[in-house]
């Protein structure tokens, strides 16, 4: 079989791209390994960790609140006609709460945070890398991995579950408002139905999943920024590829989480 020059070039380029894809996965795994090696060893940067937690929580609060509120509102408005067709509008509270708490809330809020926090970390660390600020930190005797990476990854891992729980609660509030206005369901009745529908086995896997989402956002954002090259163009690339990689990783984690939850709790 004779291959043309064009086909050979294309095959070569696919081979190189595949090779660099797996090389990056390997590098990212080593980066995560370094995180676990260094996270429990002193010195601990508590002050910087608190600053990062505050920044991430505080700056994402409004975005997550608005997203959660609209999510609950729209989801309820869109589901009402279908449920009414079957005379099942009384199932609204349990349907919305289960969907939001188990799946939609964590995934949508994590995706929002991937854009807000992940790209921010990628751009910030990337810019610090290209302007030699990370080198300056190292020369001054401070471990930049501990100061910049560990604090950010721990902060996202801690803050994302809190943001998701808050976002879920606001989404349910948005849903309750629609039900109150359109279906004459009182807030008390709505939330009674919500808490009747939700079980510990719904909350636990979702919270555990959101911890992994937070870790993924932090570690990928930091990896992309910390290893940024090619000057200011590289900073844009780091920020952009951080969001793309995190988004893809979130769906993979979600799939694994649902799979594992199904084994242990039989959804």
């Amino acid at each position: 079989m004779i291959f043309s020059f064009y086909e050979m070039n294309k095959a070569n380029s696919i081979l190189l791209n595949t090779k660099s894809f797996f090389a990056e996965i390997g590098d990212m795994t080593l980066f995560a390994g370094r995180f676990f090696r260094e996270v429990f060893s002193p010195p601990f940067e508590f002050k910087e960790l608190l600053r990062q937690c505050y920044n991430m929580g505080n700056r994402s609060f409004l975005l997550v609140s608005v997203t959660g509120f609209i999510l609950g509102l729209v989801f309820t408005l869109q589901s009402r006609p279908t449920l009414m067709q079957f005379g099942a509008q009384s199932w609204m509270a349990s349907m919305v709460s289960l969907s939001i708490v188990r799946e939609i809330g964590p995934v949508i809020i994590a995706l929002i945070c991937a854009g807000r926090i992940g790209s921010g970390i990628g751009a910030e660390l990337g810019s610090m890398r290209v302007t030699e600020q990370i080198d300056a930190m190292e020369v001054s005797g401070t471990n930049p991995f501990k100061y910049l990476v560990i604090t950010r990854v721990v902060a996202t891992t801690l803050m994302l579950p809190l943001l998701i729980i808050m976002g879920d609660a606001i989404a349910l509030l948005g849903s309750a408002i629609v039900e109150n206005l359109k279906g004459d369901v009182s807030f008390l009745l709505y939330f009674n139905q919500v808490f009747d529908a939700l079980k510990f086995t719904d909350l636990l896997p979702a919270t555990v999943k959101s911890v992994f989402f937070g870790f993924a956002i932090g570690i990928v954002g930091c990896y992309k920024g910390y290893n940024c090259a090619k000057g200011t163009v590289g900073v844009g690339e780091a920020s952009n590829s951080a969001v793309v990689t995190i988004s893809m990783l979130l769906f993979i984690i979600d799939f694994i989480a649902v799979f594992v939850t199904d084994i242990f709790f039989e959804i």
Binding site: S127, T131, E132, Q133, D135, A136, V139, S140, G141, T142
Partner: protein, 250 residues
Amino acid sequence: MNSEKNIKPVLELKNLKKSFGDNEVLKGFNLKLFEGENLVIMGKSGSGKSVMVKCLVGLIQPDSGSITIKDQDIITMGQTELDVLRTEIGFLFQGSALYDSMTVRENLEFPLRRHKDKIENFQGTEILVKEALENVGLLNAIDLMPAELSGGMQRRVALARALILKPKIIMYDEPTTGLDPITAKEIIELMRNIQEKYQTSSLIITHDVDCARVISNRMILLVDGINYAEGTFEELSNSSDPQVQAFFKN
């Protein structure tokens, strides 16, 4: 410097080699920096000057060769020992490298966080920060952000940060690059004052001939990854070698 051979160098590089892929940047570079000396390394852009100086502080791992600072081999050194040794070295980066999310005060306090014990008679961060800023004439900029400073002011603050741990060796990576001639002269003057005041040994990486003329006690020309020529400014500027002359012609 006739007595050089009898004095022990504070910093010594032997046969340093470093490649990036197929690009061989350093092909066996050697240098000795003696106490109280201002040694200028000159070379064309991309000749490996910055790579060499980054090898010296452990930011880049060389492929082979040895780097000895104050009788300690930094290549085989552990991270903790290296961090301690780094308190003896001040480093001025080409682009200043100030932490842009911190004020000038916080930038200067940063190196002190882990190394307060290294400073004799430590009297508190505030005094050291103010002293360092006074040295560079920027005490009034203490609460400003780096973005609010001009290029020359940023370079001075970076110099103050490099000095805050009272290092014995200071490395300058292109200290005057990107500055106008007047500000460049001010920075050179500042470097001289600091050297006189603290009796530091300085390694200056530059391609600025004026800077080299004013500040150098000795010079090394880095060409094709090796020490091409070595001597005082006068010796090198009067050399008949066309490659050496190329550095001094305007």
